[in-house]
Symmetry: C2
Amino acid sequence: MSTTSGRPRRATVHDVAVVAGVSRGTISRYVNGDPYVSASARHAIEAAIAEVGYVPNTAARHLVMQRTETVAFIVHEPHSLFIEDPNIGGILLGANAALSEADHQMAVLIIDTERDTERVAKYLSGGSVDGAIIVSARAYDPVARVVERLRLPAAFVGHPPGATSAAFVVIDNRGSAHAITERLIGTGRRRIGMIAAALDRDSGSERLAGFADALGDRYDDNLVERVPLYSYSAGRDGMNALLDRAPDIDGVFAASDAVAAGAMEALRAAGRRVPEDVGVVGFDDSAWARRTLPALSTVRQPAEGLGRQAATLVLEQLRGDITPREVLLESEIVWRESA
Amino acid sequence: MSTTSGRPRRATVHDVAVVAGVSRGTISRYVNGDPYVSASARHAIEAAIAEVGYVPNTAARHLVMQRTETVAFIVHEPHSLFIEDPNIGGILLGANAALSEADHQMAVLIIDTERDTERVAKYLSGGSVDGAIIVSARAYDPVARVVERLRLPAAFVGHPPGATSAAFVVIDNRGSAHAITERLIGTGRRRIGMIAAALDRDSGSERLAGFADALGDRYDDNLVERVPLYSYSAGRDGMNALLDRAPDIDGVFAASDAVAAGAMEALRAAGRRVPEDVGVVGFDDSAWARRTLPALSTVRQPAEGLGRQAATLVLEQLRGDITPREVLLESEIVWRESA
DNA sequence: TTGTAAGCGTTATCAG
DNA sequence: CTGATAACGCTTACAA
């Protein structure tokens, strides 16, 4: 008499229990793989579950278990980067794969506005997730602080902000810088310089160290220009400074692809051809690398690996394992036409 | 005496009630913005909440309210597309923005393997979300079916598979095809053809219709080559066929960027210059569009708008509003060098 | 091996 | 305006 549409009521353990003719406790034990369930009960329950279409209610489960089997994936990136940087998609996919294999959910939280920050902080505090993967947190990121206050098992992709004891996964900046500089040397360049950026960050100083490692005795500090940011304009300015100081320069390692793009612009303005007169290499394999003409030889981040590792780190903490605080991932060189 | 570390126990309404000296019911009313809370109670509660650091437990809330204020964002795309297609990131961001404004969470569910399909179906059935946004579902997508069986308020980005009554948001394929063809005409081409693809899909037939609309009397069916797929090779073959039939062709509207890229390859092989001899335009503004040489003039999907609209559609259904079943979004033309 | 019953932390109804 | 108290659907001792 009373059916308008409306959503179908979900079957509960109780319904299954009635149909199967056993108690709710037994249903629960069956569902959770408890070995102490007789074969006969098992059969009855299986049939009943199929009949009523039972699926355990997540909220009830979370409430009583105090666990959600969900890990947050928090991205705090400017809008444009999220869309354009292929790395972020790869990290996401890698993390999803690892979590999925461990039967965990991934809750992607995008922080795009002030309002989002607050909402996410509340979400985390509300116990909706067991752990968190944090991509590119800002210094003094409020979200990172919430994670720390909650003692939420977490792993950062990239260096965590401040002096947390949090686990993190990073690429081997020094080793990769060393490797790409070596390849640049291999092209026969004799006067190789570097536009070093962001030396106040680990990534920046390590890339410079790797450059120096590769050059060894031939390292000439006069061929290193230090700029503040990983930016296009810093690259342009840096290259101009280098060109002033050492007009015979024939190879440049730029600390990032954006810097490299700026440097190439300066070289073009100065009438130097790339790669004929000057070889240029970058770092990151970001969208910049494909936009330059010629396309940039650069260091590709193992994006999926970073995501996978970060997820693994969180899962291990959840399991109570002792986990490394820091994981270094080797990255790959993509050789295109700029050197 | 007893403190090893371990996670701090979360404060509950009960704790707040004790500190504030009122009942749990009153706390709950305050937290949920019920107006029937005296000023004195309010003050006491505010202080108590701050003191004990209370944040409502999400699971308990969900359980009793039978709502989660969470909307799933389901992506079912091949791996590579997820990373490379800038549209998907935009849709995600747009949906997040709309949901965030309505104080809802977005749970991003990526389906990458068989296992994922199952996990996601379970997740949805478990009542973890109030609604779903589905991007690019497959025909007979099991997830789409679960959504339908659950009568979960949903919105598709793109045409929903099968004959569901689900709401969806699409771009105006016909109008956009009309517009870009018109611009191609505007460049002075006299013999304009089309490589029409996927005519068994709405998007395919509508793009052809838009092309015909723009040409009006000048439409010549002999200049239309029909190919099965939106693919590079179909584009190459289609162009070759067109070149055979009408060697004097000087303009081509390809049904997608991939098709356009294939067509350009065929033109190059035939010794025709683009855009000097033949103008080419595509559709989608996918990664292909920037890879061709010269870069492709094409139709850009309003990605963020699609995501925002889809989210809005779901939120409206949640609110019980009567919602449109279909939303058409106008898209934008990106004029580059290929025509 | 199974049933019973006590919570998990909220919200909501209903008297006061 | 406020306090009890009964759900919400599940897991988990504890008894049997």
